[in-house]
Amino acid sequence: MANEFPFFAAHPELTYLDSAATAQKPQAVIDALVHYYVNDNANVHRGLYTLAYNTTEAYEAVRGQVAQFINAKTPSQIVFTRSTTDGLNLVAASFGPLVVHAGDEILVSGAEHHSNFIPWQQLAKRTGAKFVVAPVTKAGNTDPAAVAQLITKRTKIVALAQVTNVAGGVVPLAPLADQVHAVGGYLVVDGAQAVAHMKVDVQALGADFYAFSGHKLYGPTGIGVLYGRQALLAEMPPVQFGGEMIDEVLDAQSTWAPVPLKFEAGTPNIAGVFGLRAALAFMAGLDMKAVAAQDHALVLRLRAGLLAIPGVTVYGDAHSAGIVSFNLQGVHPHDVATVLDEAHIAVRAGHHCAQPLMARLGVPATVRASFGVYNTAADVDKLVAGVAEARRLFHEFD
């Protein structure tokens, strides 16, 4: 598999274990970008000439491919964004004030990424709503029971990651969706860490909104997707104004184009959309059951290897979707990462944009390894050896 990714040929010595931050790209995605710029480059929704027309048609067709990928009902429910962060902020800024008022509640998990935490914290502040943060499990995962318990009649928005980005737990969302819908609220799902690891079905999840990034899905940077329920998108005001998103512009007032163009002001990341199409095609060629099985095998192997090293704490559990966070007693995660880096092992050390979770775990940071389809048992073994080496090194110094 790794041989489809030119990055690994350019870095033969590197063990890349940071795909949760950003995934490497298959040759097909890189080729798609080049092909776009060489053959199709024209602005969309503007020109009548054949090139611009064809590029616009192809750009619009990608919505259908995305809709299929996450099982949305119609392509017009697919809004192209810059990233997960952009999509979640769009929902908070546009939909938020329509449904959240003073005294209402917004509920998130203590395991959320900052991108699915701060927009709601700030929306609560702006609207006078209560911002409720559900406790997490000891392992650092979202606790569905704790979330369920905190849904009240005043809960207007529940915002949850389908897969959390530190401990990698998969959150069973459908029952929570039912519960929040029963009280008249809405479920916003951060799919950033889910889409590359499992078949996503936004309808089965009961998601009112679902956001993800191309760059974590083997696609380009600068492109993301926001899915929304049609009736909600239709009512939402645009958050940015400019080209492409208008119906009519008069001096005194303007009217907006229908969904989804209403939310895509200005020239979009056209090449990014073409690259995303290639990433979706790459995903379509994968057997997602096999991907899950490989994730599971690597997670098990890594957890076992780490837990065999004295003084290692491992977060999450065996069902993590390809993400394993850990700490080595008495050694700061940054120091662990530096030792691993010297052994050409790329892991992330830090708060992972999840400071609220770090506070709950009582640590300033963790080391995190995360898998892509190109990772193997050999990568895991190298990491385990590297951590053992780090322990020896710092132990020896003690």
């Binding site: 929704h45 503007r46 009548l48 000439y49 054949t50 611009a52 027309y53 064809n54 616009t56 048609e57 492409e244 208008i246 119906d247 009519e248 184009a257 163009l261």
Partner: protein, 147 residues
């Protein structure tokens, strides 16, 4: 070659239709009205219908647009007068298929509007040709609720 394609698109009768459109203006007592825009190019078309006794009694369109959209508005309004909403719905589908594919089995139900079939060789202009027909479909399904 290219002149042939262009000749098919801009046949004399289409140009005449665009330059001297029929049913251009407003109705005195419309029962249905809808305004559609093609925001990428700026075309705008307002269609008014008077439906009585289950038939389109009268139709008128206004707005600005290219040769194709004006000719289409003229031909469309002329053809739908006297038809039932169900007949119009079938015509809308047939017209759309015609300008996308260049031919349809039931071309005859479109009458003289079928002359616009040359548009199928110009995919970028299909939206110009169908704007008036989309307006008719929309007016008949939801336009009355808005009046």
């Amino acid at each position: 070659m290219s002149l042939t394609k262009l000749d098919q698109l801009y046949r004399q009768v289409i140009l005449d239709e665009a330059n001297h459109p029929r049913h251009h203006g407003v109705l005195k007592a419309p029962t249905h009205a809808v305004t559609l825009r093609n925001p990428s190019c700026g075309d705008v078309l307002t269609l008014q219908l008077q439906v009585k006794d289950g038939k389109i009694q009268d139709a008128a369109f206004a707005g600005s647009g290219c040769t194709i959209s004006q000719a289409s508005g003229s031909l469309m309004t002329d053809q739908i007068i006297g038809k039932t909403p169900a007949q119009v719905a079938a015509m809308v589908t047939a017209f759309s298929d015609l300008v996308i594919n260049g031919s349809v089995p039931d071309e005859q139900i479109l009458g003289s509007a079928a002359i616009l079939k040359g548009v199928h060789q110009f995919p970028a202009r299909i939206k110009c040709a169908t704007l008036a027909w989309k307006a008719a479909a929309q007016a008949l399904t939801e336009g009355d609720q808005h009046d």
